[in-house]
């Protein structure tokens, strides 16, 4: 029985990483209605860029690396917008899907070229902190990741619902033409929202790197898939939904791994997704407002 609870808590804690990356995904896909397949790659790319700090200042404290990753993520977010969305007319919805796939491949290759594909050790915060209650243990660094997710959620909800940029973003997502008629500059709003989600992505990438302990190009595709699954289960556009879904998926997959083994684990995650698509297609928290 203890095994079960331990597996649940291990999984839920690791799910905090899915939650953090899921928030960005749900913003991009759900609020902006843009299919950005390069989001996780840009986040991991931001994390790698954070390592450049260590090249210049060996032994720099982790928060400096994370800040650099944060900023690099924003820059990459802007680049993805310019190369994949700015010049493509809204009437061609499939083209951005493909161009972001191209960006994902490009970012992956750049990472591989610069690091020769080798795993890079990532600085961690509290990675040896283990809270224990007898036999039962909880990872401290993942609780930090969860804390950051909650903070990010609060910050983003404030941004979306209490600022003009947030209002403009929601307007553009719902009715781009009407929004322009109201004087909202489409390009500027898009750039800013991509940069904001990119900043979050860079931070998410850095924290994922810190939790895993090493950065590798192997991380990009699984994170993309998890991000997409979490977005759907949580509800497209719902930030609290993304967090809950991330924790849920993390816990679920770990429990199934305990009982059914690692080769069948991902199959069950897919079945969970299908269950949601059939029985609750709007996700856990249907977003308020919007389409």
């Amino acid at each position: 029985m203890l095994d079960f609870f331990q597996a649940v808590s291990d999984g839920v804690l690791f799910g905090a990483t899915y939650a953090l990356i899921g928030i960005g995904f749900t913003l991009v896909f759900g609020v902006m209605h843009k299919i950005n397949m390069a989001y996780a790659a840009a986040s991991v790319g931001g994390a790698y860029a954070g390592l450049l700090v260590l090249q210049v200042m060996a032994g720099a404290p982790p928060w400096v690396v994370f800040s650099c990753a944060f900023l690099a993520g924003g820059l990459l977010g802007w680049m993805v917008y310019v190369t994949c969305f700015h010049f493509i007319p809204l009437s061609s919805p499939l083209a951005p899907l493909m161009s972001t796939v191209g960006m994902l491949l490009l970012i992956d290759e750049v990472i591989v070229h610069l690091t020769a594909g080798m795993p890079q050790a990532y600085p961690a915060l509290f990675d040896d902190v283990m809270l224990s209650m007898g036999e039962f243990t909880l990872r401290g660094d993942l609780m930090l990741v969860f804390g950051v997710s909650v903070l990010a959620m609060i910050a983003l909800l404030l941004l979306l619902y209490r600022t003009r940029l947030g209002l403009a973003t929601r307007a553009v997502a719902q009715q781009p033409v009407a929004a322009q008629l109201c004087g909202i500059r489409l390009a500027r709003v898009n750039v800013l929202t991509f940069v904001v989600t990119g900043l979050l992505g860079g931070l998410a990438g850095a924290l994922v790197g810190a939790s895993v302990g090493t950065l590798s190009p192997l991380l990009t595709v699984p994170l993309t898939i998890k991000g997409l699954i979490v977005t759907v289960i949580g509800g497209l556009g719902s930030i609290p939904g993304a967090i809950v879904a991330g924790l849920l998926v993390g816990g679920f997959e770990n429990v199934l791994q305990l009982y059914r083994g690692v080769t069948e684990r991902d199959l069950y995650v897919m079945l969970l997704l299908f269950a949601f698509l059939i029985f609750r297609p709007a996700g856990l928290f249907a977003p308020r407002g919007g389409h």
Partner: protein, 288 residues
């Protein structure tokens, strides 16, 4: 010369993969499940020729039917999800198929060795072509005969009422429904045809690589499947063919002389292509 025959084989099989996504894309469904149907076709054809000793032609027939059957089964639930959700659902299905084969063992003894798929180890020694003395150019002709048949079928669909109906559904479901088009029949039938084509493509893939494993049918392959019709444009089947030649012929093999830059240019040129021609190389809408 052998190299060009081999490249032509590869382009042929990838064209089949692209065509299977093309017909589904016409109805407005972005399906990342084609690699899953491809995988089903590959394992079925491989098992029939290796374990049951069948000839390749009936084996491919059965793999087409199994691809179609699985696709039909997917087509119905797919009706309930739209847009991004469908993309994710089909991606999850494709991964599910891959994970199924990751866990699938079916071996029989042939002589002193065990043959057949063995889970994570894969399915090795699918050697129908070399064992029966097929030369590279003969395999190429065989593959292209099938590709041309598939292209002809889809070309004929495009010029017939069925094609117009498909595109009508793709353009505006509500309008299509309001003129009496049965959405279910159209979308599921397109998915089924796509599944059949992918099944044959998969069967051919298994035989010309001689060894398949679950990792061969990953998300990257699923993405390539829809990349071909999107980059090529939905105006006609030739768009898909051109896109396959562009990606596999030019980007992969043609740019080899650039050495390391080739890999970097791969993603960059796809981004560029989508910016320059967002409707695809041959363009999107058919005018009349």
């Amino acid at each position: 010369m052998d190299f060009y025959f081999g490249l032509a084989q590869l382009i042929g099989v990838h064209t089949l993969l692209g065509l299977s996504a093309y017909i589904v894309l016409l109805t407005g469904q972005v399906s990342l499940a084609q690699a899953g149907f491809f995988a089903v076709g590959a394992y079925v054809a491989g098992m029939l020729t290796v374990l049951a000793g069948w000839h390749i032609v009936p084996a491919l027939g059965v793999s087409a039917m199994s691809g179609a059957a699985v696709a039909c089964a997917v087509g119905f639930p797919a009706l309930r999800v739209k847009g991004l959700m469908l993309v994710i659902a089909t991606l999850a299905f494709g991964e599910g198929v891959r994970l199924f084969f990751f866990n699938f063992d079916y071996q029989i003894a042939k002589g002193e060795i065990q043959v057949g798929p063995l889970g994570g180890e894969g399915f090795r020694q699918i050697r129908f072509f070399p064992e029966n003395g097929w030369e590279t150019w003969e395999v190429m002709y065989f593959i292209w005969a099938i590709v041309i048949a598939a292209m002809a079928l889809l070309w004929w669909f495009d010029r017939s009422r069925y094609g117009t109906v498909l595109r009508a559904v793709g353009e505006d479901e509500l309008a299509a429904q309001s003129v009496g088009i049965n959405l279910t029949a159209v979308k599921v039938s397109a998915m089924t045809v796509g599944g059949a084509i992918a099944g044959v493509g998969g069967g051919l893939y298994a035989h010309y690589t001689t060894h398949i494993e679950h990792l061969s049918f990953n998300i990257l392959l699923a993405t390539f499947a829809i990349a071909y019709p999107i980059v090529g444009g939905l105006r006609s089947v030739f768009g898909t063919l051109l896109a396959v030649i562009f990606v596999q012929g030019f980007l992969v093999e043609g740019l080899r002389f650039l050495g390391d830059w080739r890999n970097l240019l791969f993603g960059a040129l796809i981004v560029l292509a989508m910016n320059l021609r967002p409707e695809g190389i041959l363009g999107g809408r058919r005018r009349a």
